[in-house]
């Protein structure tokens, strides 16, 4: 099985791009993450993550229209590639496997504590 490199923040960005479907560009992704996960996302962190994901081949980008509120600068839209989808699925499956492997007792105990 191929090893898919995917960091925690990268995974969140990738998932968010999926959520936004065809509307995924930097500011929208930032807003989406901030609203859903109640955490602030710095522009720098987001852009580097996007660049890294693109380098890994999980995302591809294309230039969009330029708008007034962007002082005439174009948007850059992102899309998940087939490889990106595989990486997401792989991350999900490995998580699930790990979850399944945890003995029930541990989980119950933690749940009680949590409650």
């Amino acid at each position: 099985m191929k090893n898919y490199q995917l960091g925690e923040f990268e995974e969140i960005v990738l998932l968010t791009v999926g959520i936004l479907n065809n509307e995924a560009y930097s500011v929208a992704i930032k807003d989406e993450i901030e609203s859903r996960l109640t955490r602030t996302v710095s522009m720098g962190a987001l852009h580097t993550a996007l660049l890294r994901l693109e380098e890994k081949g999980y995302l591809k980008s294309f230039s969009g229209e330029s708008t007034e509120d962007r002082a005439g600068r174009p948007r850059r839209y992102f899309e998940i590639t087939a490889l990106g989808k595989k990486a997401m699925l792989y991350a999900k499956e490995t998580r699930e496997q790990l979850w399944k492997a945890i003995p029930k007792a541990v989980l119950e105990y933690q749940l009680t504590i949590g409650n």
Binding site: G44, T48, T67, R70, A71, G72, R73
Partner: protein
Amino acid sequence: MKTEKPYPPKLALRFFRWYCSPKLQDYIEGDLMEVYERRKAKGGKFKADIRFAIDVFLLFRPRIIRPVEGYQNLNAYGMYKSYFKIGWRNLLRNKGYSTINIGGLAVGMAIAILIGLWVWDEFNYNNYHKNYNRLAQVMQHQTVDGKVMTGHAIPRPLESAMRNTYADDFERLSMATWPADHILSVGEHSISQSGNFVQVDFPEMISLEMISGSPTGLKDPASIMLSASVAVALFGTTDVMNKSLRIGNQHDVKVTGIYHDIPANSTFSNLKFLSSWELIAASEDWIRYAENKWDFNSFQLIAQLAPQADMNHVSEKINQVRAIHSKNNYFKPEIFLHPMADWHLRSHWENGIKTGGQIEMVLMFGIIGIFVLLLACINFMNLTTARAEKRAKEVGIRMTIGSARGQLINQFLSETFLMVLFAFVFAVAIVVAAMPWFNQLASKQIEIEWTNPLFWIIGSGFVLITSFASGFYPAFMLSSFKPVKILKGVFKADGKASLPRKVLVVVQFTVSITLVIGTLVIYNQIQYSKNRPIGYDRDGLISFFVKSPDFIGKYEALRLALKNTGAVVEIGTSTTPLTQIWNNSGGYSWPGKDPTLQSTDFGIIDINHEFGKTLNWKILEGRDFSHDFPSDSLAVILNEASVKFMNVENPVGLEITNGETKYHVIGVVEDMIMESPYLPVRHNMYFLDGHYRYVNWINMKLNPDRSTSESLAAIESVFKSFAPSLPFDYKFVDTEYARKFSNEELVGKLAYVFSGLATLISCLGLIGLASFVAEQHTKEIAIRKVLGASLLQLWSLLSSSFVGLILLSGLVAAPLAYYLMSQWLANYQYHEEISWLSILWVIVGALILTIFTVSYQAIRAAVMNPVNSLRSE
């Protein structure tokens, strides 16, 4: 863009624009603006400004910051990529031409690399010894009859004089005899190995690498140090410390050290064992006799200078050491030091002056190597420029689009670089494949030092220089075309443009023809000296070197036993081998001797009665030694050279005196060549050794009616019955004699190979050029053909210009080769003058070769259907 909208803080924005990678700048700036607008609307300008600055600061990350190199470099890289791509496509499009071009260059380079490795090896001769720079052979000049003779042999008392008087100048000194084959035996098992007898410091002087034991192992005279190979040959292992063995069936010694064999490119590589000088100095009468004799030049002295001493200075200092001590200063002896660095390359003396030696051969081949490489480069240049016209349109278009001249030069240089790189890879492959063969040819053990950085530095320098040298001319010529003319189609290489190409062809063939003539002269010289009459019959003659006292008193019995087998016709003994003269002796006088003659040194050979019969020598006057004349014990036989030297009319019956002893000449024998086949025969005297007192060599004439192998087996069994433990190692006289030519034959073989390849390279160039010329003239030929020209006319039209060029090269090469080879031949006193006829033949040969090479292309062009030629394009 709306101007009324207030802008974010300028400083932060400028900072952002400065560091941001140009690829990302627009997008990220857009994001920043969008967020800024939103924040300003929500929380006011000040808050938005601060957040903006923070964002800009947080964006300052490796992936977002612009790469260090600007975009300019990236473009140039692309340009080079394109150069190589176009170059590669050009290679593939003209496969035949590329093969000729790269192949020719690769062969030339391979030769240059081989020669380079050989030269390197020659210059590194003796470098194995760590004291390389401080070792010297103590030698001497002596003046005899106005001529300065230089020799390695020195008298024995010189050692103590040097040790005492000049103790500060030398760190170590060692006397030695001469390396020779000796018999080493362990019980009944014995082998013959070359070695020497030296003093205790010698192993350290030559930095022997010990496997076991100490380098000072020769302290006890009854000791021996063995090389690993000898230890294995004798005992089957190198773990042989303290074992005992016998040398020459005389000296019992103990093994006190084992050393790694000395590599082939050392003067000492033949020292397979070392034993103690004191051991033989005590046991050999003649060495004991020499102890205080200042006029007995028979030994070697090797010296290691003290660290602070200067070689030349010390050499001058010791100049008169023998002259001071010796009572008899008849020959003006001058002692000097011959540094190890010069042993291999510069050890010829002429009248007391060092005149070079092997270095001349090294330089000669170095020059040949450079010339062959030059030939290959010329070829390359020639073919590339010839192809240039084909690519004129490409150049024109490139220029119109905006290529600067420098860029075009770059393009063509990088194209040549690509080809040269290929050629280099091929050349290295050729060298690797040819190495074993080359080593055998040059009797060397050269290896390519892959791990030596110097090899790679020289290799890459080689590629760069070659690609520049061969790419330089085409690059500058192509780029000097006028684009307008090219594109209009009026561009045509006129007579002037082809001039340099013609010059190059002439240079190329001049070198080739010179090399071929040189090879021919060398071969002629070898053949000529081989055919020199040697004065005796060497067929079926074998010699056995007596290295132990086993046969003393038994020679006559041995002779009869050998004759009884029927394998041997006759047995003659002698003090020297038949291919050398070991003994010189002076002090003779005779009636009518020129009183001003200083030196009466004759080559002295002591022989038994049957020596002459064995060799089948030719008595010219008088008679051979005979058992019928008991007075023959004081008889002498002269050779022709002696008669001439002594300047006597009727030599037979002449009385020759040496001190108290009177000898009478009984015969004159035809000159026999025992030494160099290139020198006049020395004046020799043959004395009778009827009682076998000085036998060193047993010479046997095999029965011609028997098979050699049978005879040898029979002889061996007789030898074994006399000396069971002695190995029977015999030498065929004709092979020994042939070894005198080995150096010349090596030169001949190398010259043969190199001139052959040089000619091949030149012909490859010619093929390329001829095919190109034929292609250029396709239309012309077609029109001529339509107008009625015959095949012969067309063929001569295409070939004649080449024939003229080759004739011109011949005219240049002939006197050049004649001059150079006369210089070479001057080294040999016995030589034949160069015949102009053979030079003429070489030139004729070159012409025929040229016509053959060119004709194929010319005829192919001439038989083409004119319709096709005219319709194309």
